[in-house]
């Protein structure tokens, strides 16, 4: 019986957050610290012809200028640290250090920079047209799928490709990648209903509340960096590489992170600028605070899609054929592979009998893209869930029913390779949600009009992979009888660093007061862990903490058997003791066992780390050697499929047909996240994710002026993430709480599908309120709704991007 799992706890970092003592990157200070500021490109694509810093350097208190020539070059299309060929408005060209921030900016204003304007584009389809502009000199298309170096190509579709599609349908020229299974054409021929829809999803910023500030200095040959990242250990190798030092010379501190949403999952080049500047200043501490506007320019964004999906349904509502094509806007640098996730999402959520997926990824001279909560998955459900409703309406089936008909069970398969999942309970989530939301009854009043307002009830689904494997865990029992759980996962703000640490405590039957979570600083000797992204922590870190705790458990029993006789199997644990099963009074306290481990040395106290762990873990174990009984292990637990998480969202709205305004009256999200670790943390994800989804559905989008490449929403008030008054004051969260059989304690991740479900549900409800499917575009803003209701066309063309 679980003592800790499924119960709320007070996360150790919460005190700091409510008292203000928690330190974010810009809160750190060091003696003699100076500041640096960045000179950002005013042009969407240019070449630096000349930089004249003489006036700036003459100013008293200005310390140094750092240019692209002085920092390690990154292989294109990787994002550079600083650049002489800016590829988007806001690209950092150089940095200036000064005694004060204001002085650094004053100095920047005195730098004379000569830029040669180069061709640019903010529309992928423009770039794919014969003779169209290339965002980068190396090419216009990037295969940025993970698992290998990115490949840049120059791809132009033919004029015939465009002509065949016409103005309003996505042309489908040469793709970068494709897969298919089943008899797609044959099934379309059999289909009772075929939809062929062209769609657009807007790019949008992450808007992390904490901008990506960093402070760095050098001391005794080591570089100290205080950064803002979702991840801890995972950041270290790449950051060391950006700085140009071996991993062991980097001390990296990331105790708290004010949000990342994917934009701070890995190391990013910018993070290394204070370190480079500090090196130039003989190790003097340099603080680089990033402002809100800069966070927009440099803080990454979600990719937008221009896409097309053809869906064939049987008369009974079964999705029997899908043909999907996605063109991704990847920004000007390597970007992130959202595009393949589009096909995976459709394949798992609806289990189409036959499917073809194609996609490509195109550079534009816009902000760099990276993963944002459900990258690809959440854009996709925002488009396809309303289409499922469209099919349901055409076939006379209830929207919930058509989802039931098509939803996966434990035998669900993903993608072209038909990968199995470790678990899937979306059907149960739909069922539980329908009950709790009183769906059937409320659905009956959907469409009712009261004055200018129409009610609508809808359901939406979300999916995201939910775990990785093969990383390491370290736990340590000290002679004081404390269990230290060393976690390198990072602190995204979800408290899952501690939620998953509790799994080690659970295995060792420790009382939680005697546990210490060690994290947030390489000097705490942390294991090699993947970062806190991809909804993976509750699966991946459950496994690492489990195997480390199991290793400690085995050692406890071994030591007891050694000292007290019998074999390890004769021993059990409880009350922080290891004791003989048949004579519980014979045993050792954990404190005694830890003392014995130190005396025994070798593998017991960390002097001999396991052979299969990562070098970072090995170094940490060796550094901890002699301080207690050390459990350390690599996660070699079997896994035979893709961990997968799902969410069902239920919503009721009122749409005002005279103003186009939508009010969300009620929302319930039901998560399939395996066994629940931390109910409060989960509820925050389910609700907060939905809020972010509402923003994606009806508020947030990039605007770029196509004539000069200027971004139109560099401030929060322009970018419009949802406010308190745009969401219901009470939202509800629940979970199916069924275990994933391939996770030692049944847990798996959840952070991302919760957003897709919220977005999809809201968009489905808007269609419902309007009496049927209208929009193949997100976000759906009041102007779009007013245009439809007044019988006007939209101002944008169907495939236009980065526009209102």
């Amino acid at each position: 019986m679980a003592e800790l799992l499924g119960k709320d706890f007070v996360p150790p970092d919460v005190y700091g957050k409510v008292t203000g003592k928690a330190k974010y990157a810009e809160d750190f200070r060091a003696d003699n610290m100076c500041f640096c500021r960045l000179l950002l490109s005013p042009m969407p694509h240019a070449r630096v012809r000349n930089i004249d810093v003489s006036e700036a350097l003459k100013m008293e208190g200005v310390l140094a200028v750092l240019t692209a020539d002085e920092v390690p070059a990154q292989p294109p299309p990787a994002e550079p640290i600083l650049t002489n060929e800016p590829l988007f408005v806001g690209a950092p060209i150089l940095a200036v250090a000064a005694e004060t921030e204001q002085l650094a900016q004053d100095a920047i204003d005195r730098i004379r920079i000569d830029l040669e304007e180069l061709p640019f584009t903010v529309d992928p389809l423009e770039s794919l047209y014969p003779g169209g502009p290339d965002a980068r000199s190396e090419g216009n298309v990037v295969d940025n799928r993970l698992g290998g170096p990115p490949q840049v190509k120059r791809v132009k579709w033919t004029a015939a490709d465009f002509a065949a599609a016409g103005e309003d349908k996505l042309p489908m020229g040469e793709p970068l990648a494709e897969w298919s299974y089943g008899d797609v054409e044959g099934n379309f021929a059999k289909a009772a209903l075929v939809l062929d829809e062209t769609f657009v999803t807007a790019g949008m910023s992450h808007h992390s509340m904490e901008p990506r500030s960093a402070m760095a200095y050098w001391q005794n040959g080591k570089c100290y960096v205080y950064g803002s990242s979702q991840s801890q250990s995972f950041v270290v190798p790449d950051l060391a590489n950006y700085i140009g030092i071996p991993v062991e010379d980097l001390v990296y501190v990331a105790e708290t992170c004010g949000g990342g949403f994917g934009s701070k999952g890995t190391a990013y080049p910018l993070m290394s600028i204070p370190a480079h500047m500090s090196r130039k200043l003989n190790g003097r501490p340099v603080m680089m605070r990033i402002s809100r506007a800069e966070e927009f320019y440099l803080g990454y964004a979600r990719s937008g899609f221009q896409g097309r999906i053809k869906m064939g349904f049987s008369a009974e509502g079964r999705l029997i054929a899908v043909d999907m094509y996605v063109v991704q806007e990847s920004g000007a640098t390597v970007g992130f592979p959202d595009w393949p996730s589009s096909g995976e999402t459709v394949s798992i959520l609806y289990q189409p009998e036959a499917m073809r997926w194609r996609g490509t990824s195109v550079f534009t001279n816009t902000v760099p893209r990276t993963a944002q909560r459900g990258p690809g998955h959440n854009q996709t459900v925002s488009i396809t869930e309303p289409l499922m409703d469209k099919a349901a309406r055409a076939l006379g089936i209830d929207p919930l029913e058509i989802r039931r008909i098509n939803s996966p069970d434990m035998n669900g398969r993903i993608g072209g390779e038909r990968t199995p999942v470790t678990s899937c309970y979306i059907r149960e989530a739909l069922e539980k949600g329908a009950q709790a939301f009183n769906y059937a009854e409320r659905k009956a009043r959907s469409g009712q009009r009261n004055g200018s307002k129409v009610r609508a009830v809808a359901v939406g689904q979300g999916f995201h992979p939910a775990g990785f494997f093969g990383f390491d865990g370290i736990v340590r029992i000290t002679p004081e009888g404390k269990l230290h759980i060393h976690t390198g996962v990072g602190n995204l703000g979800t408290y899952s660093h501690t939620g998953t640490a509790r799994i080690a405590a659970e295995v060792l039957k420790m009382s939680w007061e005697n546990c210490v979570v060690e994290r947030g600083d390489t000097r705490k000797h942390l294991p090699w862990n993947i970062g806190q992204f991809g909804s993976n922590t509750s699966f991946t870190m459950a496994r690492t903490n489990y195997v480390a705790a199991m290793d400690a458990l085995a050692k406890l029993k071994e030591i007891a058997a050694m000292d007290l006789g019998g074999s390890p199997d004769d021993y059990d644990i409880g009350d922080e003791r290891v004791f003989k099963k048949d004579d519980p009074s014979t045993g050792l306290t954990y404190a005694q066992a830890a003392q014995r481990a130190i005396e025994l040395g070798g593998r017991f106290d960390g002097h001999e780390p396991p052979g299969d762990v990562n070098p970072m873990t090995r170094a940490s174990v060796l550094a901890l050697a002699g301080t207690g009984l050390i459990g350390a292990a690599r996660d070699n637990l079997p896994v035979t499929g893709q961990p997968a998480a799902f969410t069902a969202g239920f919503i009721e709205i009122e749409l005002d047909v005279e103003t186009g305004k939508v009010e969300i009256l009620d929302y319930l999200g039901v998560a399939d996240c395996g066994t629940v670790i931390h109910p409060k943390g989960l509820a925050t994800q389910v609700k907060g994710g939905a809020v972010m989804g509402f923003g994606m559905a009806v508020l947030e989008r990039h605007i770029y002026d196509p004539q000069n490449g200027l971004p139109g929403n560099v401030g929060l008030y322009q970018a419009k993430p949802p406010s308190y008054l745009d969401v219901p004051s009470v939202m509800r969260a629940d979970a199916v709480d069924l275990p994933d059989p391939q996770s030692p304690l049944g847990t798996k991740g959840i952070g991302e599908p919760v957003m897709g479900a919220g977005s999809a549900a809201l968009l489905c409800a808007i269609s419902e309120a309007l009496g049927g499917h209208v929009f193949n575009r997100i976000p759906v803003t009041p102007d779009h709704i007013v245009n439809v209701l007044s019988g006007r066309g939209q101002s944008h063309r169907p495939l236009q991007v980065n526009t209102a």
Partner: protein
């Protein structure tokens, strides 16, 4: 490029009398800047797009704060009164509710707590290109970035384009027009009163300013005459978000209704041209008519006659039409 987010130095003056403030501003001329709550000003300063050398902080001038009832049954509002005070004022709520309502819809509670009515009425255009710091007509240049075939002008004007297509962003300005408020302007040559309708100016009069205020002049108070006290009022604002967002369109209305007949009315809309747009045609259409669905619809249609949309803002036509309809129907 703007958006530097790093305020430069300036000399700060904190006078505690109007006379001292006027004296300072008179001396500084074009290099001076009057500062109230700073919600508009600090944006400009931080982006280093506007860089005054001398900033005169008005918030220490007690005489410019507060709401006073006048002998004639109207009110006088000091220009330094915060939007929150206006929103909460009993006398404004009971007699000039349209203004309380408009003030309550401005921006966010934080901004309303520091933002002043004077600053709200004198605030600069919010065209995103202009705010970005481009050298457009309004910034003294010779081009408009928004009024081009591909310019992103969803938030821009339906009327009154003249090289510049920015709109009046203020939520309180249309309410002031509807209430026939008088703007009290003080300057080197003494004090004058300007009707709200004439206080705001479009690009055809001066493309670099939004009001009649000359450098060195201050808005000291707003006098609301009793003429519309206790009338039937309507205010509605449509924005993308329900808080912390500028209007896509707003509507303010005051009506004298006897029985069911609208004896007299004043209507004004915001965010459709560079000044609050007095809808005299709507007033003509409804005056002397009984209120009905049909009249409301007709009023809405009349409101948008002659609107000339740009490429991304034609939604403002049905939106304004509907808001006027609602005002007549639901007030």
């Amino acid at each position: 490029m703007g958006t530097r987010d790093m305020m430069p130095s300036f000399e700060l003056y904190q006078p505690d009398t109007l006379e001292a403030a006027l004296d300072l501003l008179g001396r500084f001329g074009e290099d001076g800047w009057a500062l109230a709550g700073g919600n508009d000003s600090f944006d400009w300063f931080k982006d280093r797009v506007k860089r005054p050398r001398y900033v005169v902080d008005l918030t220490g001038i007690e005489a410019l704060k507060g709401i006073r009832e006048t002998a004639d049954g109207g009110v006088e509002i000091g220009a330094l009164t915060t939007l929150t005070e206006i929103e909460r004022s009993d006398v404004i709520r009971s007699r000039f509710g349209v203004l309380a309502e408009a003030a309550s819809k401005v921006a966010s509670p934080q901004i309303r707590n520091t933002g002043t009515i004077g600053g709200n009425l004198c605030q600069d255009a919010r065209c995103w290109y202009y705010r970005y710091g481009v050298h457009c007509y309004r910034a003294g240049g010779n081009t408009c970035y928004a009024d081009t075939p591909e310019g992103q002008n969803r938030e821009h004007c339906l009327w009154g384009a003249d090289r510049c297509v920015a709109v009046s962003p203020s939520d309180t300005a249309p309410a002031m027009v509807v209430l026939d408020a008088r703007m009290v302007v003080a300057g080197p040559n003494g004090e004058r009163e300007v009707p709200a309708e004439q206080f705001f100016i479009g690009p055809s009069i001066d493309i670099t300013r939004m009001t009649v205020l000359e450098p060195g002049e201050l808005l000291t108070a707003i006098r609301i005459p009793p003429s519309w006290a206790g009338a039937r009022f309507y205010f509605e604002k449509v924005a993308d978000r329900n808080v912390w967002d500028f209007p896509l369109v707003n509507i303010a209305a005051a009506m004298r209704v006897n029985g069911n007949v609208i004896e007299d009315a004043r209507f004004a809309a915001g965010a459709v041209q560079c000044t609050p747009r007095r809808l005299t045609v709507v007033e003509e259409v409804v005056r002397g008519q009984p209120r009905s669905e049909d009249l409301a619809r007709l009023a809405g249609q009349s409101a948008v006659r002659g609107a000339t949309p740009l490429n991304y803002n034609h939604f403002k036509i049905p939106l304004l039409q509907n808001l006027v309809m609602r005002a007549v129907r639901d007030a």
